[in-house]
Structure formats: C-alpha cells, structure tokens
Subunit: 282 residues, 2 copies
Amino acid sequence: MSSSVSRKRIRKDPATRRAEIVGTAAAIALAEGLECVTLRRIAEELEVRPGLISHYFPAADDLVAEAFGSAATGELDALVPAGRPGETPTLRLARFLARTTGDAYDTMSRLWINARHLSRYRPELRERVVGQEAAWRGRLGALVQEGVDAGEFRPADVSVAVVQILVVLDGLGAHANTGTAEHPAAVSGMAAATAENALGLPAGTLAAPAEGAVPAVRNAPDEGSAPASARTTAAAAAPAAATVASGPGSGSGHGPRSASGAAPAARTEPSEPPEPSESSAP
Amino acid sequence: MSSSVSRKRIRKDPATRRAEIVGTAAAIALAEGLECVTLRRIAEELEVRPGLISHYFPAADDLVAEAFGSAATGELDALVPAGRPGETPTLRLARFLARTTGDAYDTMSRLWINARHLSRYRPELRERVVGQEAAWRGRLGALVQEGVDAGEFRPADVSVAVVQILVVLDGLGAHANTGTAEHPAAVSGMAAATAENALGLPAGTLAAPAEGAVPAVRNAPDEGSAPASARTTAAAAAPAAATVASGPGSGSGHGPRSASGAAPAARTEPSEPPEPSESSAP
C-alpha cells in the first residue's frame, strides 16, 4: 500500500467515513469471515492509517459486531422488504421463502454460523446477533400480523409461528459450509410447509412464486379496486435492493432492536481526525 | 509443567495413548472450542512432549477432526443407543427427543456450531462433520425403519423423515451460544411435532416420557409374551453411557460413515516412540 500514501486524500464527513468502514468490514466478513475483520485489515482495504479506523472503532470487537449487523440488516431488508401496494401478505411471505436459497443466501448463512460461533467468546457480537434475531422476529411478525388482519393467516400464536419458521430456516442454513447434496423437495420446502401449517394455510399456498406469477391466495383481503394485473406486476418486481431503509416490522412487534447497524449516518459520530501529514503532500 | 519431566513415565501401548490423546482433545473441544485443540495444548494437558502428540497426529488438523468426531460419536451413542429388549421404536424415539435439551446437550450444540463454522476453512474437519451427519442419518434411519417394520411408523419416506427431524434439531441448536429466553412448548416441542407429522403419529405420541413412564404407543408391535412391566422397566433405565460401542444404525441405512473416531483402539497405530531421556531419570 506504499503507493497510496502520497495520494491526495479527501477529508470525508464522519457519517460517510463510518459507513465506508462498516461497509468494507461487512464485505470482508461475508467473503472471508468475521475473524478477518481487524483494524489493520480494514485500514489496508481503505488505504488509510489503522488509527483512522480506531478513531471510529476504538474496540475492534465493536467493528466486528457492526460488520455482522450491517450485513445481516442488508439481508433482512432484501429478503423481507416493505410491502408495496397490492401485494398480499401471502405473496410477500411466499416470495421471502423463495429467496431463502441460492449463493447469496448461502454466503449469508455462513456469516450467521460464523457469528453464532464467535458469539461464544465476544459479548459485543453476541449482543448484535441477539438483536438481529429480534429484528427478524419483529419484521416477520409484522408481516404475519398483516396477514392476520387481512384474514389470510390464522396462526394460533403469531410469535410462535414466526419462531417456528425461523427455526427451520436456521436448521436448513446450518449446513451452508458442509452441505454436499441437494435436498429433496420435502426438505428444501420445509420452511414453507412449516409456515403453512403454523398459519393455517393449505399445503402449497406458499410454494415458490414463479417470476411474474402470483401464488394461490386463500381468503384474499379486500382489494376491491386493485386489478389482478397490479398484483401480477408487483409479484414480478425485482427483489428490493439491500439498501431499503426499513421494513414494516422496524420498531414494532416482538421487541426488535431493529437494524441499528443499518443507519450509520443517523448516529452521532466524532469528527474525523486530521488527516495524516502526507495528505498534504503533492 | 517443569515439575513433571522428572516423573517416571509409563510407556503406554499405542492404542491406549492414542485414545488418551483423542479423549483429552475432545474434552478441550467441548469445554473451550476446537480452536484450542493444538498439539502444544494437548501435550501440556497430558504432561508429555509435543513431539509425542505429533507422533500420533503429524497434522494438527487431523487431531481437531478427531476431537470433534470423538465427541460427536459419544453424543450419538448416548442419545440414540442400541435398543434393549422390550423397548419399542416409539419409546426409543421419544426418549431420544427428550434428551435433546439440557446443559450437556447445549455444550454439544456449541461444538457442532464450532465445527460447522471451522469446516469452512479446514477440509479434514469438514469431512468429519459430513461423516457425523451421515452417521446421525444412519442411526436415526435404522430406528425409524425398525418402527416401520414394527408397524408403528408410517413415513412417506424414511430418509426424508429423518432429515426433517434433524433439520429442526439443528435449528433449535443453532442458538446454543446466543439463546436468551426459554422457548414456549410449541417451539421446544418442534422436533417431536415434526417427527410425529413425518411418521404419521398422533400429536403427543412422542412427548417426553416421564422417568419410569411409557409414552402412548399406537399400533404396538407384536411383543406377545413381553409383559407391560418389562417395557416400563426399560423406559426407566438410565441413559446408556457414552461408551456404548455402536447403535443399530452403524454400518447400515443411508450411507453412514459411522463413528470411525470412536474406536481408536481398533486402528493400526505406529509404535510409540522412545520416551525422552528424562524418563529414565531418578
């Protein structure tokens, strides 16, 4: 990195710099593991002094926790985004479940395993993992409650239904580093089957919606004026970007500590320290 | 450890020494994590030279894999031991599920999380994890097949039923380092409910058997001459020790690589190297 120290640096505002640090740490956590998130490594990636990183994160463990929180919040926002007009809770739940597969999902599952293991030793990370789990329960709980309010879902208990779905997803994701075979449909479809059972839905209701297709919806809510094509369009929409700010569950439901890692710009940050002397070099 | 080098050493036969090394490594893995299983650490625990450990395990990663395999095999043998005369598959399955809770189980769940994470980086460990998962499928698969043969279980597919049960157990165990609250019965009982559903059993059939009690058994197999008291006695028996050599699933079922780590004495070992010179010191 010696070639970089003579580059003219731009002094960034604290929120931008912090977001850059966290984003870089999250990317390294996803690609290589949380063990690789060190002040030195992040400084190398960003071509800054390690002291700049420790200015924002005096304790490296806080950066590790933030890296996980940022990645996990991005996943939650991408998998369970805010609903759009005309989208039923049934459709949104089916689409979420359909997204719990593939390379990006497996990469995130590896990070969850990583974080759950290191939580044994790192209290800051454990606190963040517990918070993200609560955010998941809150987000999914709000979606299920919407379905209850719309007359689509009939769970015996909303929070139990949510935890049952998440337990199955955790069990399927536990094999992200060691899975060697494709699961049969009766296994890969366990989360959908669990959700259907917990929510009082006929089997198959939550089967993966085809691109542009709408799954069968029982007891569709009153959408009187919304034409069928509107829902079809909504179903075909591309997955929301990971940068969606917050979903319907944020701040409600079952005690979520929703996504504090997702909004670095909203935090009060110390001013960025003066750039090192070489920043004024030609 | 300097006080130990002058002790007179007993030269142990290779199988005994190897078992001692693996047992020590497994204990450290359970108590502190697989990251702590190093040649140096095991040597310190056993008060021998590191060279003695590396004589048996030239590659430390092999010892890490063996530590996990030994602990995991002990767990499998303790949780799903060989059946005893008069014990129905339904009783054995209910008793297994009742054992998937408590401190010892949580400790082992932490080791599974640990191993599944490190499998990302360590091929020897990954191979062992995959093997232990296969051993679990084989052992449970044999138990379920016995239930099918006895007319107690009616799964659509034996191997699918087994994987569904294991996925739920993995999902519940994923929180061993981060769980902060007691689950409601509808969550803690998910594995039993999943098994009942997959095996065509009425709800509640696999509820935890009380000490000395026998759970309700539907379609009990022909045990003609076996009096009810024999099954009651069997149900009250203490859990089998972790040293039970092999269960009914070993070597059968769905391709298990059963428990190679459990039988160190059966392996061909190199001769133990000469003791260091201080062993002959007064």
